[in-house]
């Protein structure tokens, strides 16, 4: 391809060669000839085909939101040496370059390998596709260029950010046969203190509370909580309305982070955790345990998009297969869902221990002028009504300000 400079040079050279004879001027004539000669010579410099292979390498297998990832763009020259090679790595708009650059200009000798390193900041969960890197070869004086895309696509899965959680006490009335790590408010043998009672023959001496004995002269023994494995079902609202707000600050993103934190916490405690996502369709991940299951759920959360308008009642069918009286945690704002009241009533009626976490981004939306103050007050009042309604059905419900730590907010409502 010709650049504008080349066109101007050829135009000027031709004009000088044609015009100079009229004033019998050898100087301009020779200048015109030289300019044309210069373009002709340069049409042979750094314009032949090249053979360059480009691959990408990431420093981490799993990338979490707001965590940096280092990309090595490996450029291998398999053809002739290239003097001016401009490379632009096509990145999705959701990731931003933190340091270094995805744009570079290099000189490549034959068989030379160059690595362009840059760091990305992934601020949004999702499954992203890094497109083909674009190449541009210029000849040294910017007279000709050639552009091409090199086939080298990569995918980058950014998992939702997880918060370190501790002490979330979800009591269940339905302990399973084998003890596990889910603390329930029953007497057992875990390290958590439950209460004291009078000594009776057969009690272990090491459980005697000697401090109380010193005070009251009565033998009392300490009692501890029992820990049990429990099945927990998490429900994620991914309806279109949950995407309201900015790309980064919207209820769905915060819901995904909350779910990721809870799943990680419960699985660490060796519980079985399942996930139901409803929005455009209902997607169910059956309860299971282990590291692999965690990444299955995180990958599913990374792929979630705010779509559809299915109500909460659509998950009821799938809940029937779930262990009765187990904890169910719904992460939803319950906005514009006419079926929510009926669905919540049915969930509690079946004996599930229901907890509702409603991520509240209304303050942010109002401050950012995404919604008007009138809409804010209406939406806020509606959310309060939903929370009150859920509490009246026996559920533990809370408005969660995503700026606050989830475990702290959750501890307040569970207390």
């Amino acid at each position: 391809m010709w650049t504008r400079k080349a066109v101007v040079y050829v135009g000027l050279g031709t004009t000088l060669v044609l015009f100079s004879p009229f004033i019998d001027n050898l100087q301009l004539f020779l200048l015109g000839t030289t300019i044309l000669g210069f373009v002709a010579v340069h049409s042979l410099v750094n314009t032949r085909p090249i053979d360059v292979k480009i691959t990408r390498d990431f420093d981490a297998d799993q990338v979490f939101e707001n965590s940096p990832v280092t990309v090595d763009l490996i450029i291998k020259n398999k053809g002739r040496s290239v003097g001016f090679l401009e490379i632009y790595d096509n990145l999705p708009s959701e990731v931003e370059v933190d340091s270094g650059s995805n744009h570079t200009i290099i000189r490549l000798q034959k068989e030379e390998l160059v690595i362009n390193k840059y760091h990305l900041n992934c601020r949004l969960r999702g499954q992203f596709r890094l497109g083909n890197p674009s190449l541009r070869i210029y000849n040294p004086s910017f007279l000709f260029y050639y552009e091409a895309d090199i086939e080298s696509k990569s995918s980058l899965v950014v998992l939702p950010q997880m918060e370190q959680m501790d002490g979330v006490d979800l009591s269940t009335d339905f302990p399973k046969m084998y003890q596990g790590a889910m603390p329930i408010r029953r007497i057992g043998t875990s390290g958590e203190f439950y209460g004291i009672r009078e000594y009776s023959p057969g009690d272990d001496f090491k459980n005697i509370n000697w401090r109380v004995f010193g005070r009251t002269r009565k033998l009392m023994v300490n009692q501890f909580e029992r820990e049990d494995i429990s099945d927990i079902m998490l429900v994620l609202d991914a309806r279109e309305i949950t995407g309201t707000g900015t790309v980064l600050q919207n209820p769905l993103n915060y819901s995904c982070r909350a779910i990721a934190s809870l799943v990680s916490y419960f699985l660490r405690a060796r519980n079985r955790v399942g996930l139901t996502i409803y929005g455009e369709t209902v997607k169910v991940i059956n309860p299971d345990t282990g590291e692999r299951h965690l990444y299955n759920i995180l990958t599913a959360l990374a792929e979630v998009k705010a779509k559809g308008a299915l109500g909460l009642h659509t998950i009821l069918g799938d809940l029937r297969n779930f262990t009765p009286r187990s904890p169910v945690m719904v992460v939803s704002t319950l906005e514009n869902d006419s079926t929510s009241t009926e669905a919540l009533r049915e969930i509690t009626a079946r004996g599930f221990k229901l907890t509702i976490i409603a991520p509240d981004t209304l303050n942010y939306d109002r401050d950012s002028r995404i919604i008007s103050p009138t809409v804010y007050f209406t939406a806020s009042a509606s959310l309060d009504n939903k929370i009150t309604e859920a509490r009246s059905l026996g559920a533990r419900a809370m408005r969660w300000d995503p700026e606050t730590v989830l475990s702290t907010s959750l501890a307040e409502v569970i207390r």
């Binding site: 000839t33 044309l36 000669g37 410099v45 001016f84 570079t104 040294p140």
Partner: protein, 281 residues
């Protein structure tokens, strides 16, 4: 050599080329024959109703040195917007004072000296504009300066093969000026974006090396294009090669255009295969 050193080197050589091509332009075309200065002379004569410019010193070296001084001052003054504005105001007031005092023949004002400076300023103006283009990365100024270097010295007398060496020197330094000043603008812009890159330095060195080689090749190609005229004279019928048209500069011009036309055809044929291979890539 570091990138910034290479870029400064380019600027220095470009400035030197700019001065040498303007100097050689006036060696080839004496200022007395210049249509531009003849026009200014006629205009000034019309205003004052007497000869003004022809009584002044028309030293090209003085003009170039004044241009160099003005250009340097301008570049330094541009670093401070306020000083720059006052400087422009000062120049404007000075020009008006020269004009008014000489028009009214107010001898207390040294208008003879200032007129002399004014004439040298005009001679050196391509240097001033060109320097601004080089050191402030303004492609517009580079183009205007190149245009002035070509146009200002031109006269109707013409020139012949007797002046071939100054002409070749002019052509070489003119192309060098264009390439280095434009190259500096592009590469310095890229250097700002590629501040983190170590490889960019090698690209810049490649440009400088290639420029020297391609300029040498271009001069050789120009000679070949010139010889092509003689070659055409040998292969064409006598009636054609002995004609007046063929043996003047018009004939040479046509031969050169034929030479580059043949080059373009060969290049197109070559490029066709090249493009096909690009698609396969």
């Amino acid at each position: 050599m570091r990138t910034i050193t290479s870029l400064s080197f380019m600027q220095a050589i470009a400035t030197f080329s700019l001065m040498s091509c303007l100097g050689l332009a006036y060696v080839i075309n004496p200022i007395e024959d210049s249509l531009f200065f003849k026009a200014i002379n006629a205009m000034v004569e019309g205003i004052y109703q007497k000869e003004v410019l022809s009584e002044l010193n028309t030293s090209i070296v003085a003009g170039m040195l004044l241009g160099l001084f003005t250009g340097t001052s301008y570049i330094f003054l541009s670093m401070n917007k306020k000083v720059y504005d006052y400087f422009l105001l000062f120049i404007f007031v000075s020009i008006m004072l020269i004009f008014l005092s000489s028009f009214r023949e107010y001898d207390s004002f040294p208008y003879h000296v200032t007129q002399q400076l004014f004439l040298w300023f005009w001679i050196g103006i391509p240097i001033t504009v060109g320097m601004t283009g080089i050191w402030q990365n303004s492609i517009g100024n580079q183009v205007i300066s190149a245009f002035l270097i070509l146009v200002m010295p031109i006269g109707l007398v013409g020139n012949t093969n007797d002046q071939i060496y100054p002409i070749l020197g002019f052509v070489f330094s003119f192309v060098l000026y264009l390439e280095l000043s434009y190259g500096h603008t592009r590469y310095s812009r890229l250097a700002r974006v590629m501040y983190f890159s170590k490889e960019f330095e090698t690209v810049l060195h490649w440009f400088l090396t290639t420029l020297v080689f391609t300029l040498a090749l271009t001069m050789a190609l120009t000679s070949v294009a010139f010889l092509f005229h003689d070659f055409l004279g040998d292969i064409l019928p006598d009636s054609f090669s002995n004609s007046i048209e063929f043996n003047t500069i018009y004939g040479q011009a046509l031969s050169i255009l034929v030479f580059f036309m043949i080059w373009a055809v060969l290049q197109t044929l070559f490029s066709r295969g090249y493009l096909a291979r690009q698609v396969e890539d």
